[in-house]
């Protein structure tokens, strides 16, 4: 019998206190892939970071955020909330609450990045 090579599969839950600021902008981290584990979607998703080599178990809310973010163009929390509201028809406040815990956890997992956006004078907004 052989020893198995340990693999990092992290569970990202929605229990942490959010600390991402509403003014922050985010991008999807380079090389991140998100996949549903069931053919019909469901609430079990996985994300793989090519940079860290780590795999994360994520819920559908986190999957939606990563999926909607672009690697190049930063987006605000408000804009992501607006897009989900537009696509699902869910109430704005409900979506904001659903997403609230996810940002910090996704940052910790290396799946998204916070970006400092500078205005045309070079100063942070």
């Amino acid at each position: 019998m052989l020893a198995v090579v340990p693999v990092t599969v992290n569970a990202i839950s929605s229990q942490a206190t959010p600390s991402a600021d509403r003014s922050d902008r985010f991008t999807r981290a380079p090389g991140v892939q998100v996949e549903a584990l069931a053919g019909d979607g469901g609430d079990e998703w996985v994300a793989f970071s090519a940079l860290s080599g780590e795999t994360h178990l994520i819920n559908e809310t986190s999957a939606a955020i990563v999926d909607l973010l672009d690697e190049e163009v930063p987006a605000s929390i408000d804009s992501i909330v607006d897009r989900i509201v537009g696509e699902t028809g869910l109430p704005h406040d409900e979506v904001r609450l659903l997403l609230a815990d996810a940002w910090e956890l996704l940052l910790h997992g290396g799946l998204i990045r916070a970006v400092t956006v500078t205005d045309h004078h070079g100063a942070a907004p």
Binding site: M1, V5, V7, G39, G53
Partner: protein, 320 residues
């Protein structure tokens, strides 16, 4: 990796010829996914090798081997007193010497060790894999789970053995390929399988190895003949032998399937995104269950009863 399509020699080489060939240019073992060239100066290897690799030992040289392994006798006085065998692959010696009469277990563990570290163009699950209806039954498990016993029993009831140790999933073709080696049975499993099927062809028993007593079940003639034929993903079953337990057949959630497959893969981390996508595809494609059992016959009946569902699902997914 190549699979030589040349017809096998009609006459099985005898151990004497194999011993002689191994002390020279070597013999070739075509396992399906890969070919191993074996050289040995340990005379105790030839006879058990022939008995547990029936129809697979070739003396005629091949153009290519994926692995070149060697078993050599001990040096100095250990060539004569308490003789030893030493396993080497490309100058690497992963194990301490074994007694010379334990050359087969050393060969088996040595080649498994090398295989687990080299075969990075396929996702290599630590799993028993058998085929029926062109579909692979994949049984990933930790040591002590009863995987080998169940794999051996199924292989003796008409399921085609692809491997007891390596579930080799090719991400290019989305199929499982055979890594055909004998099933390593340990301790009580040996008697369980002898009682289960008295005609089973087992090699010699090796007592007092680091895993207790081991014996190897030879693959069937059909498994040998079809070792170049892959199998599509069919079902994933996580077996767990539990003393005195009634048979339990429990659906496994996708996240359990994903994490267990990834954890049981020798090279998940090494394969990066390709390994991730391969495990995702297997998780989506295969219905999965946990099988807790203590009665081998009942476990087999449970699997047999579930198999039509697996076949139907595969058919519906392949329909245009």
């Amino acid at each position: 990796m190549t699979t030589d399509q040349r017809p096998r020699p009609a006459v099985e080489p005898v151990p004497g010829d194999v011993r002689s060939a191994m002390s020279g240019g070597g013999v070739w073992l075509d396992l399906g996914l890969l070919t191993v060239r074996v050289r040995s100066t340990v005379p105790e290897l030839a006879a058990p090798l022939c008995s547990v690799y029936p129809g697979m030992v070739e003396i005629a040289p091949r153009d290519w081997a994926d692995l070149h392994v060697e078993l050599a006798e001990g040096a100095g006085p250990r060539r004569w007193l308490r003789r030893q065998s030493r396993f080497t692959c490309d100058g690497e010696r992963p194990f301490e010497p074994f007694p010379a009469d334990h050359a087969l277990p050393l060969f088996e563990w040595g080649t498994n060790w090398v295989l687990a570290r080299r075969m990075n163009d396929v996702l290599l699950l630590h799993a028993g894999v058998l085929e029926r209806d062109g579909l692979a039954l994949v049984m990933p498990a930790l040591p002590g789970s009863g995987k080998s016993t169940l794999t051996a029993a199924l292989s003796l009831r008409g399921w085609r053995l692809l491997s007891d140790e390596f579930g080799a999933f090719d991400p290019q073709t989305n199929q499982f390929r055979a890594v055909l080696k004998p099933v390593a049975l340990k301790n009580r499993s040996i008697e369980v399988i002898r009682a289960f099927e008295p005609t089973a062809v087992l090699g010699p028993e090796f007592a007092k190895t680091r895993k207790g007593t081991v014996a190897h079940l030879a693959p069937s003639a059909a498994a040998v003949a079809l070792r170049g034929v892959p199998a599509s993903p069919g079902a994933v079953v996580f077996p767990r032998w539990q003393s005195g337990s009634a048979t339990q057949w429990l659906p496994a959630r996708p996240k359990v399937v994903f994490t267990t497959l990834a954890f049981n893969a020798f090279n998940y981390a090494a394969m990066g995104a390709s390994g991730f996508q391969a495990v995702v595809r297997l998780t989506r494609r295969c219905p999965a269950w946990q099988l807790i059992y203590s009665d081998l016959d009942d476990a087999l009946h449970t699997l047999e009863r579930a198999w039509p569902e697996v076949r139907e699902r595969a058919l519906s997914e392949s329909a245009p």
